[in-house]
Symmetry: C2
């Protein structure tokens, strides 16, 4: 079996068996790669590498860390993984896509791939097209959001085996659902991270919110870039994922002539050609920068889409009237209208929250290249008490949030349980095993909210009940109020599927700040949200319109929209 590890500064590399006694040397190859052919049985019980005769450490590219990041590494049978791939499955194209973000550990009471599989009929019936899994790279402890992954190539053992993951992806495909994976290339987690012992994975030239940046542009960066890009290709090729969501790309600093993201997009495209599959690469970005998704010929990185926080903030601030933190920049219907049309609210204007001008116009960005949401793991979980909109808003505002998101021109994303207005919080939880780190995380969470005058209790991320309480309660789904909201989402998604929208079409948006309503026509659908407590006469676009969905319903198309109502109309045929 061929073994390979990148260790550009090592003078010797040995592979060490599970017993800590058996050893075999690796031979130095080009560009810092070390290689050996080892008997198949040597690795199966677990292995580590020893550099320069030092302490054996896990493989930074380990495919399986059943005992966590500090344990021995194991190989994985890639051919076996690929056997779960359903030949011929084609995920929905971006223009038709609706994403559903889920965290395997809290999506079901069991927190496993196997249990998640049982919920796929629910998702297929809901009408979403893609499942998006929060990060799976192995992190220390059982529970966590996954953004502190350290063994990037090894799926987190608490959720199931690598084979179980590949099978889950196959099951999603069988239900007609594409599968995306959230991957974190902007930092390594603080515990169990052995990669930097192997080479200059980190740089102190750039800082990120999590410490030193990943070295994508300094000396030896080629190996680090391959580490990230190879990881992306692994999930797509071996596990069958249909695309990736790249976490916080604004914290990936690369000053070189070919940005890591451009190279990654190009390599993913090439893999798609090789395998005759269509992958999508989607960035989380707070930059309001079209460069991310513009084609390389126009100076872009060629990613398929990026998350659009402005849309969320504009929507959230209008619906909740919250103005703390980044919501200080938002709160008007004018901004919500801009978000609905352009995605970006900040296109170069001064942002008080950032203390500087922010963004640029979304020139060359197609609507489906922006991923929008009324909620996601961050927007819920980064609140002190992890409240969902369902805990903050009356049902009519939840209906408005759903309509504004799902009938926007963009690619919508729902967060697990949002479709039935789940009342379970999604809190920040961790399970750090290192006592000092565990304490720091608990204390850090408390002090994070202190500046905002938060006086209430902040759930301890390390407490087991914080994790346990964040799991969805599927029994809620059948209760009347929840079932009604679920039906509302299903009907909106059905309307979205049926609507006829020209490529690149932007909605015609009207609003009245004083009267408190917003309405937009996109293709053959016209929707109006009356956020006020009185009926409002909303100007209808030309043409004949038929009421398709409303709660509470207006008397007819053209009649005033009742207080608090959201109403959706389709263009009549006659």
């Amino acid at each position: 079996m061929r073994l390979e590890v990148w260790a550009p500064l090592a003078r010797s590399v040995e592979v060490v068996g599970a017993d800590g006694v058996r050893r075999m040397p690796l031979a130095r190859g080009e560009h810092g790669l070390w290689r050996a052919e080892v008997p198949a049985g040597f690795l199966d019980a677990g292995y580590r590498f020893a550099l320069d005769g030092g302490e054996p450490r896990p493989d930074p590219r380990s495919r399986w860390q059943p005992d966590g990041p500090h344990g021995a590494s194991r190989p994985v049978d890639e051919t076996g993984l690929r056997r779960h791939r359903r030949a011929g499955f084609r995920p929905a194209a971006l223009r038709e896509a609706v994403f559903y973000e889920l965290h395997v550990g809290t999506f079901t009471p069991e927190g496993s791939y196997a249990a998640a599989r049982e919920k796929l009929p629910h998702l297929a019936a809901l009408g979403v097209t893609h499942v998006e899994l929060m990060p799976l790279a192995t992190f220390p402890g059982r529970h966590g959001w996954g953004y502190d992954g350290v063994a990037w190539y090894a799926p987190h053992p608490a959720y199931g085996t690598p084979e179980g993951l590949a099978a889950f992806v196959g099951h999603c495909h069988a239900h007609g659902l594409g599968v995306l994976l959230d991957v974190v290339y902007n930092h390594f987690g603080p515990d169990g991270c052995y990669a930097p012992a192997y080479g200059p994975y980190l740089t102190d030239r750039w800082k990120t919110p999590w410490g030193p940046a990943v070295n994508y542009d300094g000396r030896h960066a080629d190996g680090v870039r391959e580490f990230a890009i190879g990881n992306a290709l692994m999930w797509l090729r071996d596990y069958g994922f249909d695309g990736l969501r790249l976490d916080a790309v604004h914290a990936i600093v690369d000053t070189g002539a070919r940005h890591l993201l451009e190279e990654l997009a190009e390599r993913v495209l090439a893999l798609g050609r090789e395998l005759d599959r269509e992958f999508v690469v989607i960035a989380e970005s707070d930059l309001n920068d079209p460069r991310l998704v513009r084609p390389p010929a126009l100076g872009g990185y060629g990613l398929d889409a990026h998350w659009c926080d402005d849309f969320h903030h504009a929507l959230h601030a209008v619906l909740t009237r919250e103005r703390a933190g980044y919501y200080e920049d938002f709160g008007s219907l004018a901004q919500l209208a801009a978000a609905l049309r352009d995605g970006y609210v900040f296109q170069g204007q001064y942002s008080a929250f950032r203390g500087r001008r922010h963004g640029r116009p979304p020139e060359g960005v197609r609507p489906e290249q922006l991923v929008v949401f009324a909620q996601n793991h961050d927007q819920v979980g980064n609140r002190a008490r992890g409240e969902r909109l369902s805990q903050l808003l009356a049902p009519e505002r939840l209906r408005a949030a759903a309509a504004l998101t799902l009938l926007s021109p963009f690619t919508p994303l729902l967060f697990q349980g949002e479709e039935w207005g789940a009342r379970t919080p999604f809190l920040f939880f961790a399970d750090h095993q290192d006592p000092a780190l565990a304490r720091a995380v608990s204390e850090g969470r408390r002090s994070e909210f202190a500046p905002f005058g938060w006086n209430g209790e902040v759930p301890d991320p390390q407490a087991p009940e914080t994790f346990l309480g964040s799991r969805l309660d599927w029994d809620e789904r059948g209760r009347p109020a929840h079932a009604a909201l679920l039906a509302w989402h299903r009907r909106l998604l059905a309307l979205r599927r049926a609507r006829r929208v020209a490529p690149g079409e932007r909605p015609d948006v009207r609003f009245d700040e004083a009267e408190g309503w917003i309405a937009w026509r996109l293709g053959d659908v016209f929707a109006a949200c009356n956020l006020s407590d009185a009926p409002r006469a909303v100007p209808f676009p030309d043409g004949a319109w038929q009421l398709a969905l409303a709660e509470p319903a207006p008397a007819a198309a053209g009649a005033p929209i009742p207080a608090g109502a959201t109403a959706v109309f389709t263009r009549g045929t006659g």
Copy 2:
């Protein structure tokens, strides 16, 4: 008189007169600007600002620091400066341009604008089109290269007054010469820098070789960006400069959606429209990244040109056979040929010196957008003993260097004295007044060369003779060998002016690594350099060619090129 200062975090700002007693408060305006109307006489004797009742400090935008960066600030009569502008002067367009880099302090024995003025007839006769002045922002001490400027808006007092500078620019124009200024926006010098006392000019998120980066993308960055951009506009508008050379833009880190350089280029373009003038903005960059000069519609920053180090390194390594430092990546005629064709040698290939892949193809870069040179202040001055090529190479190689540079498709730059093969070194010199800093600079210079096994003496940058010895010796110019080289440069520049080259045309380059010759045809000029010690038969392009310039001369067009010769041919008319 209107006074204005940016101090976004101050609670109070007062202007303090030269006597330290007279004070007037400034009023807080928008976005951190403080303003006051002061009697004209108040400022003339010198002024400082006191923030929050603290110690008075110089104005960060001071227009004149006659006593150096630590002294009082003085206003300047901008209308008076602008009076030196010669209406209707048009500098040569980039496609016709040849730059001449000079350091005011060493260009003449006197080291002043007034003395430099006397040399303008020499430059006009040489055939260059633009003078490029090394940085003028005030730095501590009398002598220095200028890259440690701290009072960005105040011309260094050792060279003359602001009025004297404006007059010098006007004199250049009178001689038909455009004038460019080297400006340093990537860092502040280590002594006398008061700007950070006024606001968050620096960030610790990014590091540069000189310490913390300038804060162009963090909180309060708008004011810092205006500080840089306003500086660029000042030199162009008030002093009459025709363009700027931006020092080391790879150390300007801006992760926002609109890069500082793009905004700067846009604002300079707008000023040109307003004044009906054509400015150029040229970056020094080691990125091999076309983004710098591509138009904004194609994702570029829209700069006019950038320096091309690869061309220099390829040329220098071939001619000198040096392989230390960054020359380890160079040394073949194949690379020199690539440099002559594309400018960039590294277009994504692995660079051993950088320990990573470097650059990308120069797609969309027009030849005149690359500034090339056989020598410049850095390439000479960053050698331990500041040797020019004339101290390293035999005359025939100097002639080859000149032909390769001046008959390239790019925009060539000569460094002061290069045209006559000056024998005076150009050393790194400084005049730091702070004793600890002075010591650190002296010691730093010595230790810089230690790793390269440099055993000889490294001249002390702080020693007066280091500066004095770096001044040009104009008496050399008339001595036979020097005069011959000067004539060679003049004749090459005349051939360059007369040649007919299609827009965007790249040379057809041939070479023989083993035989040691390189030849290229561009438009109606064919040139060949035989770097070997035997005559070489070089294949001529189709057509009739006439010998235009050669040393030593071949028998005829088509005949072998003598050992060591450079020969230039023009297309015959018959």
